[in-house]
């Protein structure tokens, strides 16, 4: 754990973002803006049925239609590994034997215009034999339920360490189970009180404004794509497997991303765009509509059963839990989300015993995948709601009960795990003080609640590489694979490098990602960039700096400790020696580039439950004040105070944007309808019917407070900030509702109907 470093010139300042001018003038290039002469447009035929066997596909009428250059059905997949997925390769590029949800991809066409492509799709004839549907996890788990996969798809269970395990196909439509156990189950027997509650979590859609989009072309024998993706290197590997193609002949280029929030990991538009480009010999753009985004990826709805044993004095003792995640029709990232939901269910508290299973259940709905918070949102909802239930049952203040049981700074999360790197009590006090928790007035339907949102940060065993190149005249290339998805990472990384090289921020450029040149990065996800990738960047910058200093010391015939790097001059005593002439004097007039390489990866550690210790722990403290109308059931949010710990904020203003953005995103699952299904039919999957928070939905009492506790593993003590503040929102509001009107709502979203039902139940 680093101490706060003082007197920094660039780090810690609200410097203007590197992407500010392009993004405010319309000059920023996104994948949707990539275009080539002769480029074709792809459209896909989607299944109208939630579950059916595909008995026939006839696309013969399409070939030869005006403007149509290529068609893909299951008959065009020879020579490919035509299914993809994270651990379980179960999702076909286009339907093969079956379709498994409304919107499943059946065929694809590339034509000169989108209209021609749509017209062509209408001429494809598909025979379906309708199969029984499972629209919910309860239906899917029933003994007589139809299986989405009659045979086990190819896949693996990742390796786990102490106490953790994974398994496949343990029940009907169960695609994966993550389990974690520690301590002696007998701990429950010693408890004075046992609490058992079921919580239900809503299903949001990411609603990233830039759709899923890829432009693909063949550049000689190289498959070249521009894609709106968060993880180009794993994507490249997956595409290499699907197309049985060498990884180094697949080039992935990533312009600015119009956000992702997790959705833009792994294959989405890429396989179809590539396949059509290969078949047609022309560049192909496959850009989904917002409606198609809803049919491509969602958050995991969840049912969480939590059993917690405590002592009469409020001491937490044991917790067991069983989580059911609605995975939708394909496994996608479900095994990973299950791992994180299960592993995070204990919350940041002390336990003698834990026993948690998290099952991923396939249903005939949109595939669920990574979504900001990644299982932590679901876990925090249940865990932090139950803490309040326990407190009220014991006659304790919910804030006090948290203070009593949270882990201390530095304490290991569970056996074999890394230490908690924030002061949880200090963080909670920040939001409680700001919201006015202690002095709150109750009655009149008003109340307050607090919550500690919790997740690990940095992913699991996640490697990053980086390279720094410095030109003769002191221009710095910052080369790493962290993608500018909106979080400001180009700016933060550049600030770190400018600080380390003691140079001006505008000397640092951050080239667009191209997998042919950019150092390897496992992905811009899991809040990993500032604590993982940035460590590789830091190392690269320091290596390059060392080379510069060694060169200068040799040229100046002095010791390296006699000189300092100062904005591309060498300061020696009171003399400044510009580097450019020195470099050209030695290397010749065209100069030279000093380079430094960096690498970061957590150590493999079999004693750690997830096979490497978590790099960091990300928190979002939340406090809410609500006013509940007992007649209408409407919840009015008066105050929402959130706070994250940036460790050391590289750019405080950018951090603030992360805290506020994630908190408002978290509101979606609490006070908005989310994805509404009628059976297996999505009722509101478009930009008009789907409600996300608007400026007018944000209360005047919405405040974020940035903490800098200084304990992070990233450069200068920094910590992740991108996901924390969405985690406490739901439970803080539900806790405030109970504080206000004395009823507990265990199901999200907190609709007026549910509030009224809870009031009725309490009165009845």
């Amino acid at each position: 754990m680093n101490e706060m470093s003082a007197n920094l010139d660039v780090v810690g300042h609200d410097t203007v973002r590197k992407d500010a001018v392009p993004k405010t003038t319309g000059a920023a290039t996104y994948t949707v803006d990539v275009s080539f002469p002769g480029m074709l447009h792809a459209k896909v035929l989607r299944s109208p049925h939630a579950h059916a066997r595909v008995t026939s596909i006839d696309a013969s009428k399409v070939r030869g239609m005006p403007g149509v250059h290529a068609v893909v059905t299951r008959d065009d997949l020879d020579g490919l590994n035509p299914t993809y997925g994270y651990f379980i390769k179960d999702q076909p590029i286009v339907a093969m034997d079956k379709v498994r949800y409304i919107g499943d991809t059946v065929a694809a066409v590339a034509a000169e215009t989108e209209l021609q492509a749509v017209a062509a799709l209408e001429q494809i004839t598909v025979g379906y034999k309708i199969l029984p549907t499972v629209a919910t996890v309860e239906e899917a788990m029933a003994e007589t339920a139809p299986e989405l996969f009659e045979e086990e798809p190819m896949g693996v269970v990742p390796a786990y360490g102490q106490g953790a395990s994974g398994a496949r196909r343990l029940g009907r439509n169960n695609c994966y189970r993550f389990s974690y156990e520690t301590g002696d189950e007998a701990a429950f027997d010693r408890c004075d009180h046992i609490f058992e509650d079921r919580f239900v979590f809503s299903r949001d859609q990411h609603f990233h404004l830039e759709p899923f989009v890829t432009v693909a072309r063949m550049d000689g024998d190289v498959i070249e794509i521009w894609s709106s993706t968060q993880n180009p290197f794993p994507l490249r590997k997956e595409l290499a497997r699907v197309f049985q193609y060498p990884e180094n002949r697949i080039r992935v280029r990533v312009p600015y991303l119009g956000a992702g929030y997790g959705a833009k990991n792994n294959c989405k538009t890429e396989p179809i765009a590539i396949l059509l480009a290969r078949l047609s010999g022309k560049p192909v753009r496959f850009c989904m509509t917002t409606e198609e985004n809803f049919l491509t990826q969602s958050q995991h709805a969840a049912i969480l059963d939590v059993k917690t044993g405590v002592m009469a004095d409020g001491t937490f003792v044991a917790r067991s839990g069983h989580i059911l995640l609605d995975s939708g029709a394909y496994s996608d990232a479900s095994p990973l989300v299950a791992e994180k939901a299960g592993y995070r269910l204990p919350g940041p508290y002390n336990w003698q015993h834990l026993n948690i299973d998290c099952d991923c259940i396939l249903t005939n709905t949109t595939p669920a995948g990574p979504y900001r918070g990644f299982g932590g949102t679901q876990a925090s909802w249940a865990s932090e709601s139950q803490v309040d239930i326990i407190a009220r049952a014991l006659g304790r203040d919910p804030l006090d009960l948290r203070m009593q049981n949270v882990k201390n700074l530095g304490e290991a999360y569970v056996p074999g795990e890394s230490g908690i790197d924030s002061d949880l009590r200090a963080g909670l006090k920040v939001v409680a003080d700001r919201v006015g928790y202690e002095a709150r007035s109750r009655g009149d339907g008003r109340g307050m609640g607090v919550s500690i949102g919790f997740k690990d940060a940095g992913g699991v065993n996640k490697p990053s590489q980086a390279r720094i190149r410095i030109t003769t005249t002191g221009g710095v290339y910052l080369e790493c694979g962290a993608i500018e998805i909106g979080q400001g990472i180009h700016t933060a990384m550049s600030q770190i490098v400018a600080e380390l090289l003691n140079t001006q921020l505008d000397r640092v450029v951050y080239p667009e990602l191209n997998t042919d040149y950019t150092p390897f990065e496992q992905g811009t996800n899991a809040s990993s960039a500032i604590i993982g990738t940035a460590q590789a960047v830091q190392q690269a910058a320091l290596v390059a700096k060392q080379k510069v200093l060694e060169f200068a010391a040799r040229e100046l015939d002095c010791g390296i400790d006699e000189i300092e790097l100062d904005d591309w001059s060498i300061r020696k005593g009171n003399d400044a020696h510009p580097l450019a002439p020195m470099i050209m004097g030695y290397y010749g007039g065209t100069g030279y580039e000093f380079t430094g390489a960096g690498f970061f990866k957590p150590e493999l550690d079999h004693a750690a439950p997830l096979e490497s210790q978590c790099v960091s722990w990300e928190f979002g403290w939340g406090a809410a004040e609500v006013e509940v109308d007992r007649e209408t059931g409407l919840i009015r949010l008066l105050q929402l105070v959130v706070s994250g710990d940036a460790g050391r904020a590289i750019n405080p203003l950018v951090c603030r944007g992360q805290d506020e953005g994630s908190a408002v995103m978290g509101l979606t699952g609490v006070l908005f309808p989310c994805m509404v299904y009628d059976g297996a039919i999505l009722m509101n999957g478009n930009g008009l019917d789907y409600r996300v928070p608007l400026a007018t939905d944000i209360p005047d009492g919405f405040v974020s407070i940035l903490q800098e506790q200084g304990h992070g593993p990233g450069p200068f003590g920094s910590k992740s900030i991108g996901e924390g503040c969405m985690l406490p929102v739901a439970s803080a509001i539900a806790n405030a509702v109970e504080d206000a009107i004395g009823v507990r709502i265990r199901e999200l979203p907190l609709t007026p109907e549910r509030v009224l039902a809870a009031i009725d139940e309490a009165c009845g």
Partner: protein
């Protein structure tokens, strides 16, 4: 592909443009595909999210829900046409930059155009007016507060004259 082509003459960012457009062709397609003004972004394609907001005779409209022929004789302004002739950025752009009022940036051109329209009609709006006005467009990244503050700040920056 129905009906006859319509002739449209309009001004886009102070330059006269003339087109023959199909009846179903939308303004955003003309801007992006014919004029390469790709700062205007398509998202929901239903006129709901506002990412494609441009100014039509000063009023904010969704260019995904405006037929190209509707712009005949009108003045279209996009994010590319906001800066002053001397290159100085519009106060709204300056304030969005200084306040870091964007993240992924995809909604930003639309948000900036929406804010410009507000300040053109009400040069010093109060915070509530800004909140209600900016409530027309969706930003999924920022949580809106920093956008609202940027519009407040933009109202304090003098507009460059001589456009």
């Amino acid at each position: 592909m129905s009906g006859e082509m319509a002739f449209v003459s309009c001004t886009v960012n102070s330059v006269t443009q003339e087109f023959h457009v199909r009846p179903e062709e939308m303004l955003i397609d003309v801007l992006r595909d014919r004029l390469a003004l790709t700062g205007t972004k398509l998202s929901c394609d239903l006129g709901a999210c506002g990412a494609c907001t441009v100014l039509l005779d000063g009023k904010p409209v969704s260019s995904c829900a405006t037929f190209a022929w509707q712009t005949d004789g009108m003045n279209v302004r996009t994010v590319e046409g906001l800066a002053a002739a001397n290159g100085a950025l519009d106060p709204v752009q300056q304030a969005f930059i200084e306040n870091s009022a964007f993240q992924c940036g995809y909604c930003t051109p639309g948000m900036i155009m929406l804010a410009r329209a507000l300040l053109d009609r009400d040069p010093s709006p109060d915070r509530e007016t800004i909140r209600v006005w900016m409530g027309a467009n969706i930003c999924r990244c920022t949580g809106y507060e920093m956008i609202i503050e940027a519009v407040e700040k933009a109202a304090l920056i003098p507009l460059e004259t001589g456009k």
